[in-house]
Each structure stands twice: as C-alpha cells, then as structure tokens.
C-alpha cells in the first residue's frame, strides 16, 4: 500500500532547473525515509518525529537542493542521518541524567522494524548496532548504491561495503542462534 497525497500548490516552493516539486518528493520518499529512521533508531515514535523534522529541514533548504549533485533520496537520508545523530546525542545525555533509562516500549513491541518480519529477523535486527542497521537500511531497503550510501554516512564506499558485510554476517549469525 502506498500513500500518495497531493500537496496544495501553495506548499510548493519555486522549483529550480530539473528539480522535482517538493510535493512529489514527499509523496515518493516519506516512506523510505521513515523506514530508514526506524531501522536507525529502532524506535517508531522517534522515527516519526525525526521524519517530520527531516522534511521540515528539507523544505527549508529545498531551494539549495541541486539534483545534479545527488538524488533526492540521498539528500533526504543525509538530513535524516544528521537529525538522528542529534537525537542519539540527546538520548545519551538523557540516559546519563536518568539512572533508570530503558526503551522498554520499543523492547516489548512485537514488531519495530516492519510488519511481517519473522521474529528471528526482528530479534536479529535488534541486536545490531544502529550503525549496522543503518547501512542495511540504506543498501538493502532503500537500495542506495555504495557511493550514495557513503555520502549519507560520511565515510568511504569501501567502508560502507565492509560495514554492510559485517552487519549481514551478524544478522545471519543472530538468526542462526535463534534457530532459523
């Protein structure tokens, strides 16, 4: 199922040469960006907030977006990554302040990362670090190529490849431990 909402014309900033309308970008990329953020944070509520923040930032800087320098998805993921890192930073500060900190709501939730995943895969994804889940989301779910994922993560394409290999290996190992 795909949600396609048409933005009112007033919400569309003047588009530059070759750039799609922002309404089209929202319609096309909200789901992938949201999924990416869910994988990265492991928290759907946080992912919603971050997705909203991402698109708000994207709208503010929409005039600066240059389609020749990268696809809208890569650009949005880069904004989302930055927003998520800030969220992690804030969470870490909060964790330091509060003694009894736990994301219990996320832990007890049956399916965090997607509906329809096997429990083993869901469990295995939870055991991965955010960085590992992030690279899986970018390369496998969002199907970004190596250089695009490297731009989002701020690392080299080789490092992306290495990180992806390790993440998939861990994923397989965790799933094997559960008994798949």
């Amino acid at each position: 199922m795909r949600y396609v909402h048409a933005l009112p014309a007033s919400l569309e900033p003047p588009r530059q040469m070759g750039a799609p309308a922002f309404a089209d970008v929202v319609a096309e990329h909200l789901d992938p960006v949201y999924r990416y953020l869910v994988y990265l944070t492991g928290d759907r509520t946080a992912a919603e907030d971050l997705a909203a923040e991402t698109f708000e930032k994207a709208f503010r800087t929409w005039r600066r977006f240059d389609p020749r320098r990268g696809a809208p998805r890569t650009w949005l993921c880069r904004i989302a990554h930055s927003a998520a890192v800030d969220w992690f930073r804030a969470e870490a500060r909060r964790q330091r302040r509060e003694d009894a900190y736990a994301r219990d709501a996320a832990e007890v939730e049956e399916s965090v990362f997607a509906d329809g995943l096997s429990p083993a895969l869901e469990h295995a994804l939870r055991t991965l670090t955010p960085a590992e889940r992030e690279v899986v989301a970018l390369r496998v779910l969002l199907e970004l190529d190596g250089p695009a994922a490297a731009r989002v993560l701020g690392i080299s394409a080789t490092a992306v490849s290495t990180r992806l290999g390790r993440a998939l290996k861990r994923l397989e190992e965790e799933m094997a431990d559960v008994g798949v």
């Binding site: 199922m1 795909r2 949600y3 909402h5 933005l7 007033s10 919400l11 900033p13 922002f22 929202v26 909200l30 789901d31 949201y34 999924r35 869910v38 990265l40 919603e48 997705a51 909203a52 698109f55 708000e56 930032k57 709208f59 503010r60 929409w62 005039r63 600066r64 890192v85 992690f88 930073r89 870490a92 990362f113 997607a114 509906d115 329809g116 995943l117 096997s118 895969l121 670090t129 955010p130 960085a131 992030e134 899986v136 390369r139 496998v140 779910l141 199907e143 190596g146 701020g154 080789t158 490849s161 290495t162 290999g165 390790r166 998939l168 290996k169 994923l171 397989e172 190992e173 799933m175």
Partner: protein, 393 residues
C-alpha cells in the same frame, strides 16, 4: 559461508538483483527479500504533520539567505570594486599631460620678456599672490648640451616658481642630473660648487661615491642667495641630462609678521612690569611675582628675536639639493606614454597596492585563520568520533 565471506563485489551484484549461485548466496538473497518485504509505511499522522509543517518552514525560509550564494556574489563584487577603484585612480592620475608639458616647454623655451608673467602665473600663483607654499615638479629627460646650458643661462625663464622680491620667501629646489661618465660627474661636481660660489652661495655638504661597476653619484647640499636661485637652478640643470626637478617656495611673510607682533607685545609688557617695579609702595610679595614675570618675558623676547632672525636668514638663502649620477638605475623617467598608457600604468600600480594591502591583511589574519581552521577540524573530528560511538552502541 556467510555474507562476509561472499565478497564485496559479489554482494554488490546480489544487491543489484543477480541470480544467486551458491547456497550462501541463496540465503543472502532470501534475507534481502524478507527485509524488503516487511511492510512499513509512514503513518497518516506523520504525513499530515509533514504537510502541516511545510508552510511554517517556508515562512522561516524567507528570512534566510544561503551563505554560499552570498559569497558567490560578494567575492566578484569586491573584485569588481577593486578593479573599478584602480581604473578610476588611473584615469584621475593620468591627467591631460598636454598642459603639463606645455607649461614646462613654455618655461624652458620662452624668452624672459615674453614668458615671465605667463610662466609665473601658471606655475607659482600662490607664492606670488597669496602666500603659503607652492611647488612644481618636472620629470623629463633632456640631453643637455653645452649650448643648451648657455641658452638656459642667458635666455630661459626658471622652471620652478620664482621667489618674489617684495615678500619674504623661502625657496627650495631639488635637481637630479645624469652624467655620461664618472669623470664627467667629478667635473660637474666641481663645476656646481663653482657656480654656487660665483652666485654668492656656498656648498653646505658634498657627498661623492663610486661603485665597482664604474657608476658614481654625488649629492650636493647647496645654499644660494634667494635672488640668485633661479640663475643657479638654470645653470645647475645644464650640467648634464636633467632627470628630475622639484622647486618649492614657502611664504614667510605671515610668520615674520606674527613674530614682530609678539616682540612688540612683549616689549610693552616688559615696560609695564619695569614701571610697576619702580613703585616703592609695592608689597614685597607682589614685587617678587612681578620680577619673575619680567624675567620670563625677557627670556621669551630673546627667543622670539632669535626665531625672527632665523626666519629672515631662512628667507635670505635658498636650499638647493643637487644629485649627480651616472647610474642607469636612475634613468630619466620618460613621459613618452600616452594618456591611455599612463592610465593603465596608474591602474596597475593601484592594483598592486591593493594586492599588497590584501597580502598584508592575509599575513596578519593567517594565524587566526589557521587556528580557526584547526579548531573547526578538531571539533568536526570530535563530532564524528562521538557519532561513531553513539551509533556503535
């Protein structure tokens, strides 16, 4: 065999949708399919929230200006302003050239009877009519032969302003003359001393130096009676090829009047003090005070009298600085460029000055820029490490 052992290249191929060949690859592709098959869509509430936040974001966007664009506009604007300033400087500095040359030629060629008033009005209006100081500057290359020297001595009007005989004026002249050889320079030095002596003046100082390459130079500091300064300048400029000439006059009339008035005032004051001191009924304390004041007034009178004598003697003689040289480095500054050439030359010179200023600013600011850049790089590296640590937890 796990994903890590499949190999990066092969993993890329599987991600692009190629068919699996091994059992491990089949498992890997199945994992991809399961991950991609999981249904996860942005909730309607989120979609509404995104749409609702867009107009607010748009309002704040209007207040922002992309800094990169500002830089892209500001840098060319600054460069254009610098070039425009240089061009304006070049245009203003180039002058007409014709008027200067005409005045110079008039001064050099017109007989005294014809050119006296015109040349004097053109070159030294202030010195003749209004007091204050004036100067004229002529840079040219003239091969002065013996006949020219004679001609200058006999017929020509002076190049610079003529000191008036009616007013008290101090004259100053600077000449640069090039000689063909060191021996010619030596004889020109002697000749210059003789010229000045014959006009009632004297040489304050003479410095003569020679270099290994055969070039030589002499610097003569001459004193000439004011009445003979124009004659002296004419004769000295004919000692060789005239490279440069500067003459200036300073009106001392006002200064002398001031000093005279001060002397008169002090004399009256002293007379008043002396008269008061003759009074026998004057209290002792006041007598002492008056005596001190009288003493001070007398001292001031002596100083001002001395200054006035200095002013008068300064007006009596003119300072003439003569530079004789054989060096090619001091070659004549030729005025062969057209107005366009002078403008271009001036503009290039001004751009050079601008470049020096920018370079100087960069030299001064570079430590701060380097420190700032270093700080920024350290801060960024720290953020990256923190980010890696946060995402690896």
């Amino acid at each position: 065999m796990s994903a890590f052992e499949i190999g990066a290249g092969r993993l890329e191929e599987l991600l692009r949708g190629q068919e699996p060949r091994t059992q491990a690859e089949v498992r890997q592709v199945a994992l991809f399919a399961e991950l991609r098959g999981g249904a996860l869509h942005a909730p309607d509430a989120l979609r509404s929230r995104v749409l609702a936040s867009a107009p607010a974001a748009r309002r704040s966007f209007a207040l922002r200006r992309p800094p990169r664009r500002l830089v892209l506009v500001a840098v060319p604007l600054a460069l254009a302003a610098a070039v425009a300033a240089a061009v304006v400087h070049g245009i203003v500095g180039s002058g007409s050239g014709r008027a200067d040359r005409a005045a110079l030629q008039a001064n050099l060629r017109l007989p005294r009877s014809v050119g006296k008033h015109a040349a004097a009005e053109a070159s030294a209006p202030k010195a003749l009519h209004g007091g204050g100081s004036s100067s004229s500057n002529g840079d040219f290359s003239t091969a002065a032969s013996g006949s020219l020297e004679q001609s200058l001595n006999d017929k020509l009007t002076p190049v610079g302003p003529i000191p008036s005989t009616n007013r008290l004026v101090h004259a100053d002249a600077r000449l640069s003359v090039q000689e063909d050889s060191a021996s010619a320079l030596s004889s020109a030095t002697s000749r210059a001393t003789q010229i000045v002596g014959s006009l009632g003046g004297y040489s304050q100082s003479v410095q003569y130096s020679t270099a290994h390459d055969g070039s030589a130079s002499a610097f003569l500091d001459l004193r000439v009676p004011v009445g003979s300064v124009q004659k002296a300048v004419n004769r000295l400029s004919g000692l060789g090829a005239l490279l440069n000439e500067q003459t200036s006059t300073q009106d001392l009339e006002q200064q002398l009047t001031q000093q005279t008035n001060q002397i008169i005032g002090l004399r009256r004051t002293i007379a008043a003090y002396e008269q008061a001191l003759q009074d026998p009924s004057l209290p002792a304390a006041q007598r002492v005070i008056l005596q001190v004041r009288l003493s001070n007034a007398r001292r001031s009178l002596t100083q001002i009298r001395r200054s006035r004598s200095g002013t008068i003697s300064s007006a009596a003689t003119a300072d003439v600085s003569l530079t004789l040289t054989t060096k090619h480095g001091a070659a004549a500054i030729r005025q062969k460029r057209g107005r366009l050439g002078r403008m271009f030359h001036g503009a290039v010179g001004f751009l050079g000055i601008e470049g020096i200023v920018v370079l100087y600013a960069l030299v001064v600011l570079s430590p701060f820029i380097v420190l700032g850049g270093l700080g920024w790089a350290l801060w960024r590296e720290r953020r990256r490490r923190e980010e890696r640590r946060l995402l690896a937890a």
